[in-house]
Amino acid sequence: MTTETIEAPRSARVSKRSTNFEKWGWLYMRGSGVLLVVLIFAHLFTNLIAGEGGVKAIDFGFVAGKWANPFWKVWDTLLLWLALIHGSNGMRTIVNDYVGNQRLRKIIVLALLISSVVLLVLGTLVVWTFSPCPAGALPSDLPSFCPAQ
């Protein structure tokens, strides 16, 4: 037997970034995950279980009734941000795993980023600029607390 010599491993590349984004992403999935368990189970319970009729009871008046209370506005905004960022980061992980072509991978991850930003802005505006009694709507579509038109 001849003595084999094994090259010393290359020294690790020094990260140019001072922030380890992958670590914070990993932690975010776990932190947001715990919060989402509570937020989503309560969301499902109030919308599908607690009321008479489940999904059949959901209409514009139901949403207006919930968002008359700032508690549910904050709740739904938290749901929107935590869930969409959790979901798109999970999709990014899956895309990184299966898309071998680097150019295509970057395009898909960019599409995930852009769609998430658009939906976060849209959803936040919808919750916080919501008007429960818009002019011009049929009175039968509006919640009972709206003044008669």
Partner: protein, 144 residues
């Protein structure tokens, strides 16, 4: 856990026994609770993500008009969508419970040791959750 016994320089080639034929158990991640929980976590996660995209857009219709929102939500009040909603809640339930299992594996000292047991606890809690949800959901969906 296999111990590191090989010395890299000067030692004779270590004898590695051929793998036993048939089912190799306990040494492989593949095909066991660990793999299937991972597969289900991905499938449920992707499904929930695409529902979430649709759900943000349908809710955004409250800002268009009450009639537009009611028209789209009306399409959810059909038996097929009701069954889809049941599957969605089942997917969310599994993803949530298995997500808590992943957190325990990552942060609890004995988590890795008990990951298989925790998988079956996840399945048990998931079934209990569905026993609570599915009958009420189906009564709502199929009643007039």
């Amino acid at each position: 856990m296999a111990e590191q016994t090989g010395v890299l320089t000067g030692s004779p080639a270590p004898k590695i026994p051929a793998p036993r034929p048939g089912r190799v158990q306990g040494t492989l991640y593949r095909g066991r609770e660990g793999m299937w929980s991972w597969v289900l976590h991905r499938i449920t996660g992707v499904s929930i993500y695409f529902f979430l995209l649709v759900h943000i857009l349908d809710t955004a219709l409250v800002r268009v008009s009450p009639a537009a929102y009611n028209a789209v939500i009306g399409t959810y009040k059909t038996p097929i969508m009701g069954l889809g909603e049941t599957a969605l809640v089942a997917a969310i339930g599994f993803h949530a419970l298995n997500g808590l299992r992943i957190i325990l594996i990552d942060f609890w000292g004995n988590g890795t040791k008990h990951q298989k047991l925790m998988f079956w606890i996840v399945i048990a809690l998931w079934i209990i959750l569905l026993i609570g949800f599915v009958p009420r959901q189906l009564m709502n969906v199929f009643s007039e």
